[in-house]
């Protein structure tokens, strides 16, 4: 159950850079407590994405900038040991629009040491193509394609001791609609055609432990993911059957009363979707599949066998030391943070730098 503090505003900026793609994302988030246990959380963010052909997945050698705007509003209500939230999110690009509605219900038990949380959500997306007036996935008379996603998650968090917490959760999502990129093409076959239904599942476990003597905290995360075509697949074999293992370790260390460093390491391993083959290694690998009915093919690198690693270092500074400094004492209740990570990928996207900075201040 997410803890709620005083009214606060958070300003963040994120910068992601790999050889073919650069993303700059400023965000502002405002939280407000209202009477009767009600609270509001609203955010606005902009994704400015500059991309060349490799990352965009198109076959054109061009550079373009896409801007995505996102607004979201969530309302929470707290009772004695129960919290409910309801949120709406809208995201818009020049060729992609998404409405998301989600809710959660969480309850605390066993002397507030256990929390069970249920989350449900639906996302209704619409997409069009600047290059294709009427893509194959559009249903006449419409000229756009759709993707509907339905999500459910259940988590259980248990305080095990004054210095140990564990969490297990399961998530499931059903996707129905176009799940590719309307601009991406497979050499010799044309625009990609991934399967239009997918059932995605994940189970995860997290454990946190704190060493008071050294002011050190440790977190370990593990996640297993698998997906499949729901029901009877239209192809002879299930086109998905992707499996992935993700591990993550975090170490939090207090460097002083107000300064903390967090070291993070994440590793992700996945096999390929069964319908996918690497057209960069064998340009004709899709021919037998493409002749079947219905044809399914994609040049999306993220559907292939992937191994990624991500080390990151983050500094968090609680600025209460500014309390004695004239003028700057206005910021003494703020928390500042900055992080740098290096994302290593074994596919055509190649490695990326990730820089984030933010400040949270009560008002």
């Amino acid at each position: 159950m997410e803890a709620r503090g005083a009214d606060q505003v958070t300003v963040r900026g994120a910068y992601y850079r790999e050889p073919s793609t650069r993303v700059i994302q400023p965000v502002v988030d405002i939280q407000k407590d209202l009477p009767h246990g009600v609270d509001l959380d609203a955010h606005y963010l902009v994704d400015a994405i500059t991309s060349a052909s490799a990352a965009a997945g198109t076959t054109k050698d061009s550079i373009f900038t896409e801007v995505r705007n996102e607004v979201a509003l969530a309302v929470g209500k707290n009772w004695d040991r129960t919290r409910a939230t309801l949120g709406y999110r809208y995201s818009a690009e020049s060729d992609y629009w998404s409405h998301g509605l989600g809710g959660s219900l969480a309850g605390r038990f066993w002397g507030d040491t256990a929390t069970v949380a249920l989350s449900l959500g639906v996302s209704l997306d619409t997409m069009s193509s600047r290059d294709r007036p009427s893509p194959d996935c559009a249903v006449a008379p419409h000229t756009y394609c759709t993707l509907d996603s339905y999500f459910a998650g259940l988590s259980y968090t248990q305080v095990l001791s004054p210095v140990a917490v564990a969490q297990v959760d399961g998530e499931i999502a059903y996707l129905d609609g176009f799940q590719g990129n309307l601009y991406r093409q497979v050499p010799g076959l044309g625009y990609e055609k991934p399967p239009d239904q997918r059932l995605r599942n994940a189970v995860a476990g997290r454990f946190a432990y704190y060493f008071p003597s050294s002011s050190t905290g440790v977190q370990l995360h593990y996640r297993f993911y698998w997906d499949l075509f729901p029901g009877t697949a239209p192809t002879p074999t299930d086109p998905w059957l992707m499996r992935a293992h993700t591990i993550e370790a975090r170490v939090y260390q207090k460097l002083s009363r107000s300064l903390e460093v967090r070291l993070l390491y994440r590793q992700h391993l996945q096999n390929r979707a069964q319908f996918w083959c690497d057209v960069t290694l064998n340009s004709s690998c899709y021919q037998p599949v493409a002749m079947s009915s219905p044809p399914t093919y994609s040049a999306d690198p993220k559907l292939g066998p992937i191994h990624t690693e991500y080390p990151e270092v983050k500094l968090v500074w609680d600025a209460d030391g500014l309390r004695a400094v004239p003028f700057l004492r206005w910021f003494s209740a703020a928390t500042f943070e900055i992080s740098y990570g290096y994302y290593m990928q074994n596919d055509s996207f190649r490695n990326a730098h990730v820089l984030q900075a933010g400040a949270t201040m009560p008002y």
Binding site: R12, T21, A56, V159, P162, D169, Q345
Partner: protein, 77 residues
């Protein structure tokens, strides 16, 4: 490599039951919660950071859950 989906759910349920079985009585009293409020002990300490990470990893790895991942022309989907 075709895992029946019920098998992983069963493992999750058993793990949950194992954790719950350890807590016949509340293992921590209110006055023992000093360290539990620290960032290091919270899995949801920074939701905005998680939001950005989910979006970028969802665009680069095929094993996210596909929810809350809007994006089109940028190759995010």
């Amino acid at each position: 490599m075709a895992y029946p989906s019920w098998r992983a759910w069963l493992v999750a349920a058993l793990a949950l039951a194992a954790v719950a079985g350890c807590a016949h009585e509340p293992p921590v009293q209110p006055w023992q919660r000093e360290h539990l409020a620290k960032r290091a002990m919270r899995f949801d300490a920074d939701p905005m950071e998680d939001h950005f990470r989910q979006h970028w990893l969802g665009a680069r790895e095929g094993a996210d859950l596909g929810f809350g991942q809007p994006g089109g022309g940028c190759g995010c989907n």
